[in-house]
């Protein structure tokens, strides 16, 4: 079974986000870059399937050269090879353009299952997985927390929590699955794993080498234009409720919620 994991490099979730001088992007100094947390579940699930069915796990990333470090992390966890799509013309591409480039790279590899994180914790768009599936004309099951693959590897059954219930969805391979927390507990890279990862193949691809037209990528080709980034609206300072006992404080709070905020 051949499995592809799409991987994005994002700022660590601890990072404070500051707006850059152009007002349209974030300030990238002092940012620690990590593998998107949702993609780690994809790497882990791919490795578990490989352990059961055999085959190869390919990790595909896109972005500047620093993204190679996060691909190496996945290789150290146990993935077999990496592909990094890197091209200055990609800078500032929107979700659809990114999906188009990833789909083109995926077509160069044989695959049964593709994993993508349910969203990047940076842009929070959650569009790339589904758009890749559309460009490859394969089914998708998104935001999954449990996966079963049939013994012959031909069908998958995935749990997908929706508001108030969980849908169990079936599809034949090839299929694209977007991963949610709860699917598994991603392993840490072992020291021998880290040593081995250094020797694993990591190919770089440009738009041209994928047969793509650079004019369809980058900031100017965005279908969704960024007008401005701003810091989040600040909440006004709140009221600390004083009182001589928990009961008197609770009574005051109940009154405020009922009479002032009118929310109960």
């Amino acid at each position: 079974m051949n499995i592809i994991v799409c991987m994005k490099q994002v700022p660590d979730t601890e990072a404070q986000i500051k707006i850059g001088p152009d007002g349209k992007s974030i300030a990238e100094n002092d940012i620690k870059w990590v593998m998107n947390p949702y993609d780690e579940y994809g790497v882990e699930e791919a490795l578990r399937l490989k352990e059961k069915f055999g085959g190869e796990v390919t990790v595909i990333g896109l972005g500047p050269k620093r993204v190679a470090e996060s691909i190496r992390t996945a290789l150290a966890m146990g993935a077999d090879k990496g592909i990094l799509i890197t091209d200055p013309a990609l800078d500032g591409s929107d979700s659809l353009a990114v999906a188009k480039a990833l789909a083109a790279a995926i077509k160069t590899v044989s695959y049964d299952i593709i994993f993508a994180g349910q969203r990047g914790v940076d842009d929070d768009s959650g569009l790339v997985g589904a758009a890749i599936a559309e460009y490859l004309d394969i089914p998708q099951i998104s935001i999954i927390t449990k996966l079963e693959v049939s013994e012959d590897g031909k069908t998958v059954k995935a749990n997908r929590p929706v508001e108030g219930e969980t849908h169990v969805v079936e599809a034949n391979t090839p299929v694209l699955l977007t991963t949610q927390k709860g699917l598994n507990e991603p392993r840490y890279a072992s020291l021998p794993g880290i040593m081995k990862a250094k020797k694993k193949p990591l190919d770089e691809k440009t738009l041209e080498s994928l047969g793509l037209n650079a004019a369809e990528f980058g900031k100017d080709a965005r279908k969704l234009k960024i007008v401005a980034l701003t810091p989040p609206p600040q909440r006004a300072a709140g009221k600390i409720i004083d009182g001589d006992s928990p009961q008197t404080k609770a009574a005051q709070l109940a009154k405020l919620l009922h009479e002032e905020a009118k929310v109960i």
Binding site: I17, S95, V121, D124, A131, A133, Q140, V169, K239, A250
Partner: protein, 327 residues
């Protein structure tokens, strides 16, 4: 020339979901602001009798796709039918909910239509015939204002619980029409084989009007009993911080924050939650925030409208009793 505002309503098991009214209300506002008309689209099976309702919220027209194969949401069937409806009607603006259905559909449909798509927006405006959308990014640590190139429709999903629902007006009616579409069985490649209801029976956090949430300060799974009692008294759903989920006290489904759910209730009561940046990000669009924590230095107090510095195990049961007195 692309014209009009179109919203994609949602139903589950034949019941219209609340997000549909939020979308209709916001769609009507945008249609009025740009001198255009609002069309609602409803997909389902034996659903046509529900369509007229959207007229009362301001839809001029309701397009219904009624087919047994549309009874349950599947990506392929819905994306195919909606794409056909959109191409035939040619709206300038297309709004969906940032619900699990809308989020699944959005990427697929945007790729099919080849248009820009803004996910999980909290505010919309129309400028120069184009949609301008505001969306939290980095889970709310920054906000992006986005607009579109010259392709239409301008597509976006709206965060649940954010768009105000306008009161229905019984005097308003909509023209209800059947959608013209073809649907090939072989094109539907996924199948929903089971739907398991959540045990809690409570409203999902993303749709909840009130949330009582607990963190590390709950000390263990049984600590949440006091929160469940408060939640029952005010009909709230119960959430949790990442540390409470990672400790195994609550399930992943309850997690609020950057790697959990992003929530927008009217009232968010944070108990024993210090307020890690990832947690604050997930609840920053809540309307009223209450923090109850022993530690006066906890960052959550910076985000709270009302704060109580005290032991939550004394405050929360007292609050439950006091609330029962005032409501």
């Amino acid at each position: 020339m692309a014209q009009g505002v179109m919203i994609i309503a949602e139903q589950r098991d034949g019941d219209i979901r609340k997000i549909s009214y939020e979308l209709t209300s916001e769609g009507k506002r945008l249609a009025d602001a740009s001198g255009q008309e609002l069309t609602a689209v409803l997909l389902g099976s034996n659903i046509k009798d529900k369509a007229a309702l959207f007229g009362k919220y301001g839809a001029k027209k309701v397009i219904v796709a009624d087919d047994p194969r549309l009874a349950k949401y599947t990506t392929d069937a819905y994306a195919s039918v909606i794409a056909q409806i959109v191409k035939a009607a040619g709206p300038a603006i297309l709004l969906l909910g940032a619900s699990s259905q809308g989020k699944d559909l959005a990427g697929r449909l945007a790729a099919k239509l080849g248009v820009g798509m803004a996910q999980d927006c909290t505010k919309f405006a129309v400028e120069g015939g184009k949609l301008v959308a505001t969306r939290p990014i980095y889970a709310g640590k920054a906000y992006a204002q986005v607009s579109y190139d010259d392709s239409y429709p301008n597509m976006a999903t709206a965060r649940p619980n954010v768009m105000a629902i306008i009161p229905p007006n019984d005097a308003l009616t909509a023209e209800v029409v059947d959608a013209a579409f073809t649907l090939d069985d072989s094109a539907i490649k996924t199948k929903v084989v089971d739907a398991i209801k959540d045990e809690s029976g409570k409203v999902d956090l993303t749709e909840a009007d009130k949330i009582v949430s607990g963190g590390r300060g709950m000390k263990g799974p049984e600590g949440f009993d006091v929160l469940e009692k408060l939640a029952d008294a005010i009909r709230a759903s119960v959430g949790a911080s990442r540390s409470a989920v990672d400790a195994g006290w609550r399930t992943q489904n309850d997690q609020v924050g950057q790697t959990g759910k992003v929530v927008s209730p009217n009232l968010y009561i944070a108990c024993g939650i210090s307020g890690a940046i990832q947690h604050l990000a997930g609840m920053s669009t809540s309307k009223y925030v209450v923090a109850i924590n022993k530690d006066p230095e906890a960052p959550i107090f910076q985000k709270a409208d009302y704060g109580i510095v005290d032991d939550l195990f004394n405050v929360v049961p007292a609050l439950t009793e006091e609330i029962k007195k005032v409501i």
